[in-house]
């Protein structure tokens, strides 16, 4: 938990780093949709290969991506395992009341890879985009909602603060776990129930810490006259460049490729 890497910006000077944050967010969303709409191995492979190329170009060390995968590995395995039993077709194996079919196996493998691709895409975006850029991008993308009377600044600052404090919360969790470990808490116990109970004890101090932190940040911001209703200018104006245009073309090619492959009848 100390090595929590998911969501941590990795500063760099690669093409992916230089891309407009809005393009990165929109591309991520399109990739999410494509990943879940892909229904065969070729379309999924196209997505996997394209994001692998983006990851290489991003110049972020591979170990960082591996650490991101590690953090969601258990959830992915459990989700894929449960999915095994939810396809009623010709049974391959019967485990009492439960049965595993070929289509169940196929959809489990697909789901497992889909989840991995999702983490991969999110990691690329998070590693190559600073919190300030993400906040500014959301503010820009959501600006049409302002016409409906929705306060975009409020949403943007909420997103910024949430992202900024994820690593802080993990550090605090690590501290609390250690503090309880030295008093003999059962974190290393082989008994699952004892282990779950031990982890439940983390939540009380963690929630208190979060609320206290939130309150002190609010007070600190108010004491410096922060007013969410005021219109703000930004030091950095977001402008699309030729790089962004190339990335949009690249995205369109992948999009077309995946849609065509989805129409083909392959495993």
């Amino acid at each position: 938990m100390n090595n929590f890497e998911f969501c941590k910006y990795f500063s760099g000077n690669s093409i992916v780093h230089k891309l407009d944050a809005r393009i990165k967010i929109i591309s991520s969303l399109i990739f999410f949709i494509l990943t879940f709409s892909s229904n065969n191995i070729i379309s999924l492979s196209i997505i996997a290969i394209s994001i692998s190329i983006i990851a290489v170009v991003s110049e972020v060390p591979l170990i960082k991506y591996i650490k991101s995968f590690k953090s969601v590995l258990i959830i992915s395995v459990i989700t894929a395992f449960i999915n095994l039993f939810f396809e009623a077709e010709t049974n391959l194996v019967c485990l009492g009341e439960l049965s595993v079919s070929l289509s169940g196996l196929k959809s489990s493998i697909f789901l497992f890879f889909r989840l991995f691709i999702l983490v991969f895409i999110s990691s690329i975006t998070m590693f190559t985009t600073s919190v300030q850029e993400i906040s500014l991008a959301f503010e820009n993308l959501l600006s049409p909602l302002g016409y409906l009377g929705i306060n975009i600044q409020e949403i943007a600052i909420t997103i910024t603060l949430s992202l900024r404090f994820i690593p802080v919360l993990f550090e605090e969790t690590y501290k609390i776990i250690n503090a309880q470990k030295v008093r003999g808490a059962h974190f290393d116990s082989k008994n699952v129930i004892k282990k779950i109970r031990a982890f439940c004890n983390i939540f009380v101090p963690l929630f208190i810490f979060s609320f206290k932190r939130a309150e002190s940040i609010a007070i600190a911001m108010e004491s410096r006259c922060y007013d969410v209703s005021k219109k703000r200018t930004s030091l950095k104006n977001m402008e699309l460049s030729h790089r962004d245009a190339i990335s949009i073309i690249f995205l369109l090619i992948i999009f077309t490729g995946v849609i065509i492959c989805n129409k083909m009848k392959i495993f």
């Binding site: 250690n178 503090a179 470990k181 030295v182 008093r183 003999g184 983390i202």
Partner: protein
């Protein structure tokens, strides 16, 4: 007895971004000794404490507790922690039980001690830490800052371990609460005769209660000696932006004009020494 041999620790040891936090630390502490660890922020004090209680494993070197090597000769972290317990900085942020009683009893319960004995332990440690019996039924979350700190210190004391490490136990407390808490810790140590390791930025406290002082600078062991000998090297300490006890400073200023014993670190001894000089010069009290 605790013995540290050639202890080194690197954060992210296997990666390229490895950071050396401790280099070649060596010291031995006999039973019922109090050691103070001093050093500026980032000098490796808390890392050393975490290594001593088995929360981190050394990159190089060994730590022995009564000739048993920490981590290697113990079954698990839990077993080490029952022998070497630690209170982290601002321990009040880590309270979680429903009542103060349960908070203090948490450690002994994990140790497998019977409820009747736990009750005795709880009532014993609350006396040391000046927690009233009425407070035992209260939720630790709604106590005042000072009371929370006392509760957190009592909860580690309740484990009755052979080595107790306190990471800045008085940080953020007012002067009176500081000295009260330090007295409680000292009384507990006198009764239990355990090894007490205190990480502190308060040099008066360190000089007053410690038998040995370890000075760290950027992970390197600069000094390990008695407080008098350590604080005699005030020039070295001042270079590290570390204070020396104020009494010691005053004695040094006086020594610039009149020869006086500069090893004195406590006000009472200083008063006697100054009076002795004044008397010798014919000045009456």
């Amino acid at each position: 007895m605790i013995r540290v041999e050639d202890l080194c620790y690197n954060y992210n040891a296997k990666s390229k971004s490895s950071i050396s936090a401790l280099k070649n630390i060596n010291f031995t502490l006999k039973n019922s000794t109090i050691m103070g660890i001093i050093g500026k922020t980032g000098s490796g004090k808390s890392t050393l404490a975490q290594l001593l209680c088995g929360l981190l494993s050394p990159t190089h070197g060994k730590i022995f507790l009564n000739e048993k090597e920490i981590i290697k000769d113990f079954k698990n972290t839990k077993e080490i922690c029952f022998n070497v317990t630690m209170a982290f900085q601002y321990p009040e942020n880590q309270l979680f039980e429903k009542t103060v009683y349960d908070e203090i009893a948490f450690g002994p319960r994990n140790k497998g001690i019977s409820e009747s004995k736990i009750k005795d332990i709880v009532f014993e440690v609350i006396k040391f830490t000046n927690i009233s019996e009425n407070m035992l039924k209260c939720s630790p979350i709604f106590l005042s800052g000072g009371e929370k700190r006392k509760c957190a210190i009592a909860s580690v004391m309740a484990l009755k371990s052979k080595v107790l490490i306190l990471d800045e136990p008085t940080a953020g407390l007012d002067c009176k609460s500081k000295s009260q808490l330090m007295n409680s810790i000292f009384e507990y140590h006198r009764k239990e005769k355990n090894i007490l390791i205190i990480i502190s930025h308060n040099m008066e406290e360190t000089a007053r209660i410690c038998d040995k002082v370890l000075v760290l600078d950027e992970g390197i062991q600069l000094m390990f000696d008695s407080p008098v000998k350590v604080f005699k090297n005030y020039q070295k300490l001042e270079k590290l932006n570390l204070d020396v006890p104020q009494t010691s400073q005053i004695m040094r200023y006086i020594n610039n004009e009149y020869p006086i014993n500069t090893d004195i670190m406590f006000p009472k001894e200083a008063e006697e020494e100054i009076l002795k000089i004044l008397n010798s010069k014919g000045v009456e009290r």
